[in-house]
Symmetry: C2
Subunit: 486 residues, 2 copies
């Protein structure tokens, strides 16, 4: 029986194009039992040409014509949707934008220009309907990123945001690949921590929603926070692994709804042991940036094009320029000179010793030809306790480095870490933190090595390569002050 069905199928496959809809019905019944299920990405590239196949997805457009019905069906596997051509008899009022369908038919070369392959449908089944009045996206309308942001549970159904999510997924792969290929061990640094890495406020505290039995007792016995950086935990690992990295969520309780801030965002952080100078870090930062960017451009060409053509026209040139040139290196002191010699009026002071603000960073990037630029050796007093003292009195700088990029400003921040026990102890002592960080001092007591690392804001990286202005548009579920839907 199976044999005979298979034979019939093979007849159907080879003759489908010449059969009329009416006469092929009995043969199609056999076909429907066995069609291979294809993903849209496979179908649009012509896999199983001529075969009876099934494709499942969501309707992105419907064009009824006199004799035929044209649909575009997408299942998230690619930006391109599959064109489905069906007899008007198969039309159904439930075929609307957003409805879920299962289409069986024959995949064939398209006589139309815009896509090389299309599915000639012999059956269209509406799996789940979608009321076009209530559905917030409308057929043939191009919705702005700002508009779709209002629908956090539905915006993945638009072309732009599904492209963004594929790019983000691929960029994640790219980051992991870079570190793996370069011998870094991935560490899952903890989200919940009892230390406050930057010594800053703006921490989220964590306690059970229903308190423990014992009155007033903390779940972890000590105050516990959401991590602002995995650096100190990576430094633990730097005493046994000469190359480690972490890639995960970090948190700031910043009371801001600006287009630059999120309460939860992703950081890529790396730590390298046996460093000799900041160059050991800038090399990794630049290599990772190039490698990840090139990977994304190569593996998500269509999706990136959507942004570069329709969302942020002209940005591709900026990206190409970034990749063409080596990143220049300025010291902080040189940067201050450049700012002071500029004709631009800045809102914030540019005296030696002042921190660089976004306006300064953007100016420095422009000054260097709108490409990424490293700024090194910041004033010692601007940097946290762990930054390595350059011992360069009277200027007194720390071996810290930022990578500034077009459109974004600071993309990465890093430093050599103070590996000398006496210096570190003195600085922690001044701040009254010697006991709190006794475990961190231990790392210098036992086999301390010169080391350093950096962190890169992953959302900022995506903004930088796509040209997207608002950080909320490059993350699946943005969390910020007064906003945590779902």
């Amino acid at each position: 029986m199976f044999q005979s069905a298979a034979k019939t199928l093979s007849v159907a496959t080879t003759t489908a194009a010449t059969l009329t809809r009416g006469t092929s019905f009995s043969i199609r019944r056999y076909c429907q039992k066995t069609p291979a299920t294809l993903r849209v990405s496979e179908a649009v590239s012509g896999a199983k040409l001529g075969a009876n196949v099934k494709v499942q997805g969501w309707v992105r457009s419907v064009r009824p014509q006199k004799a035929n019905l044209f649909l575009h069906v997408n299942d998230g596997s690619s930006l391109q949707s599959l064109q489905v051509v069906a007899s008007s008899e198969l039309d159904d009022p439930l075929l609307t934008l957003g409805s879920a369908v299962e289409v069986t038919g024959t995949l064939r070369k398209s006589p139309r220009q815009r896509q090389p392959f299309e599915l000639e449908a012999d059956r269209i089944h509406v799996v789940g309907d979608c009321d076009p009045v209530d559905f917030p996206f409308k057929i043939k309308e191009r919705h702005s990123l700002e508009y779709i942001r209002q629908f956090p549970h539905l915006r993945c159904r638009t072309n732009a945001f599904s492209s963004l999510l594929r790019i983000r997924s691929e960029a994640t792969t790219a980051v992991h690949s870079y570190f793996k290929e370069n011998g870094f061990v991935q560490i899952h640094t903890p989200v919940i921590t009892s230390n406050d890495c930057e010594g800053a406020g703006e921490l989220f505290q964590v306690e059970p929603s229903s308190p423990n039995n014992e009155e007033g007792e903390k779940f972890f016995s000590v105050p516990a926070f959401l991590t602002v950086s995995g650096q100190l935990h990576l430094e633990v690992m730097s005493g046994a692994f000469s190359r480690v990295y972490t890639f995960g969520p970090t948190f700031r309780a910043e009371n801001s709804q600006s287009r630059r801030h999120l309460a939860e965002f992703y950081m890529v952080e790396a730590e390298v042991s046996f460093t000799q100078s900041l160059e050991d870090l800038t090399k990794v930062m630049e290599d990772m940036f190039r490698s990840a960017t090139e990977h994304v451009l190569a593996h998500c060409a269509e999706d990136v094009d959507l942004f570069h053509k329709h969302v942020t026209p002209g940005h591709r040139d900026t990206v190409d320029a970034m990749l063409k040139n080596r990143f220049p290196v300025l010291t902080y002191s040189e940067a201050i000179d450049i700012l002071n010699q500029s004709s631009q009026k800045f809102a914030f002071p540019t005296d030696w010793g002042c921190d660089l603000q976004t306006e300064h960073e953007k100016h420095l990037v422009k000054h260097c030809g709108n490409i990424p630029v490293f700024v090194t050796d910041y004033p010692y007093d601007l940097k946290p306790f762990y930054a390595r003292d350059n011992l360069d009195h009277p200027e007194h700088t720390a071996a810290a480095v930022d990578l500034l990029v077009p459109g974004v400003g600071e993309l990465c921040g890093g430093s050599l870490r103070e590996e000398r026990l006496d210096l570190l102890k003195a600085r922690l002592g001044e701040a009254g933190l010697e006991d709190t960080y006794s475990w961190y001092l231990d790392l210098r007591r036992f086999g301390s090595v010169p080391h350093g690392g950096f962190g890169m804001g992953f959302e900022r990286f995506l903004q930088c390569i796509l040209g997207v202005d608002n950080i909320k548009d490059v993350i699946a579920f943005p969390r910020f002050s007064h906003s945590c839907p779902l």
Copy 2:
């Protein structure tokens, strides 16, 4: 000058073996300027044989003999340390277990049996010393996992825990590779969420440590929690992508210090659209388990061997048996029959309708030959609101599935999701949750499709393949009640 130094180097390289330490000094000075830095993993596999090289790492053993000094140096790039052979003249009292060193010399074939290559040192520089009295690990002692767990900032410096961390890193890669190769898009589901996926208590709540200006006002306007699962957010994506997954930290405020529980642990979760039956899920679960396990066994053979030989002897046979057989499938009802027919006395009841406890799960695994086993179609009332109703009165089960594995019990849990708007609405209505989950109901209003997914506890996966009994020993920084150091 550079030319001439290079020439001298090439002489030094070819004649180093025949030169005595005394006479080669002036040549060595040139060599020291240019030796290639090798990682230990490269050196132990004989890269740059015969060349003058530099290796940096931490001392894992010191054996001074009459004429020679033997060191083992490790930098975390492999379990194997590099054997360093030096003249006794190069001995230094600071060369102790845990001290950091930089060794230059010539890499050559070893006359000794235990390793094929060794480094003949002509210079050993102690970069960072390590007081052998204060350092908690002692030379030639094998420390138990329990002992090293007391030193969360130092335990990565032991062989066992550095192996674990390499395995964990590689297993992470394996999971990502599996999903990538199978067309899944990775989604960063949020850590901070306003929904309580399982409807359970045991949530951590999140608020800024220094409150906002406005008295009593919440940062996010609504109560915000640490996620217990990314499932509902993945389901959002299942309306646009037919295959998605997430891999990240999840949280339970469980007041337990048992060897089975953590407050922060990692979950791998996947969601598949257009499912036809539970088989669409069990296939992915089984494939992922096999693929990730085989990847780890192939890419971390030495590290896994350390566990299978020294930590959990005999466990390799269990792992091999798991991979040899297809995983059997039992319905919950069949499982209950097996438990009731067993001669074993259970602490918990085994009546139809009772949840399976760890003792039951372990019995079922044994019953099936100590291999992973799926249990499907649990009583409807045991499962959360999103589980798909099998509509099989009078038994009344839900299309849910657990994967039980040797030693661990439940490794994965999953279900088809209720995609039918009317059924879902009724169930949420009964629980008074219709408003809270109106966004979730929207997913069924607009292009709903049959779909399902599962989650796998990543630490449990590592325990399962390594045979490690305590979950705290398979995560870098375990967090549990009353414990959050660092």
